[in-house]
Amino acid sequence: MTDHTDHTDHSHLSDTELRVRALESLLADKGLIDPAALDAIVDVYENKVGPRNGARVVARAWVDPDFKQWLLRDGTAAIDSLGYTSTQGADIVVLENTATVHNLTVCTLCSCYPWAVLGLPPAWYKSFPYRSRAVKDPRGVLREFGQDVADDVEVRVWDSTAEVRYLVLPERPQGTAEMTEDALTELVTRNSMIGTDRLAGA
């Protein structure tokens, strides 16, 4: 019954595919799921929900100080106002990076992640190395992502142990004062909203 595979999913893939296919057909025969609904759900997460949503939230906060204050005070409502209502129904708290504070988010117990604004998490976010080390050695983790954080900058790690989701508001890069909100959106990386990236020039 067991079906051991490594983390890269390359071994026993066909066994796994058969087992998932058998499960899906059993559930379809029982009338518990409709395969066409599964197609639609996959499409939502592959094509409609993703980190572009979060990037638009960040760019709006960079150009609109009132929106930024609202976002930091009540992230759930401010994000709802842009139409990215949480598919997870979870509250969202937004964490502001500054010259003296860097925020990093993790879920050590499973893989909680703000789906509504970032889509599904990357594999590394769900990996054992990240889940185990982010709380204990955040600066070492950040170095693996190419980010050296100065000793006097406070690193705040947020372990998502409840149904509150965290989104990092990265610093706006310097030299972008003339850019439009749409153009700024293109500068925002997914990892900068998780906290494992800092934007060039910021």
Binding site: R21, L23, L26, K30, R131, R139, A162, E163
Partner: protein, 220 residues
Amino acid sequence: MDGIHDMGGMDGFGPIPIEPDEAVFHAPWQGRMWALNTALGAWGKWNIDAGRYTLEQLDPALYLSSSYYHRWLYRTENILVDHDMVSREELATPPEERMVERQGEPLAVEEILARQRKARSARVDENIPPRFKAGDQIRARNIHPKGHTRIPRYIRGRAGVIDRDHGVFIFPDTNAVFAGNKPQHLYSVKFSAREIWGPEASAVDKVYLDMWDDYLEAEG
């Protein structure tokens, strides 16, 4: 439970597998697995805490040797059996030899996504007084619940400060076993890195956890 899933602070898992421009799903079966979970969850037979508890009860060796979506596959099979939606015999029978009775009509995708939004809301609209307020000194209780819990091992017994009160939320330890919501205040609690990891840790760094009233005791 003091399970293998509670990995905050462990060493030895190696470098972080960073992959540039990775796909949402690395193989079609992963997307099917994801969507199956979403569609099945919409029936409301279990809740998010029960789902996590089932995942945590996988054999530790299997948990460690399985990828994320493999764990979801095993979890889904187990929780379907636990709730009498399928049997072990049905899972073990090849599709061409199977005779199953249709139990009903499946939900449409709009209904699934609407139910998901509703079911996932863990906030409770009840007027329950908080035990703590922002700035209060607390200590994470040294407890080792045998069942599902969201207080990681690495924080038990450590002293911290209430950073903010999130409001009243469902308590996962009881909700996971369908023993009631036990609604109570949930707080963001701030701990210094040195309080948790000792003098080798940065003097300025902090770790924040979301913690329920039942996980906390007043300090001093």
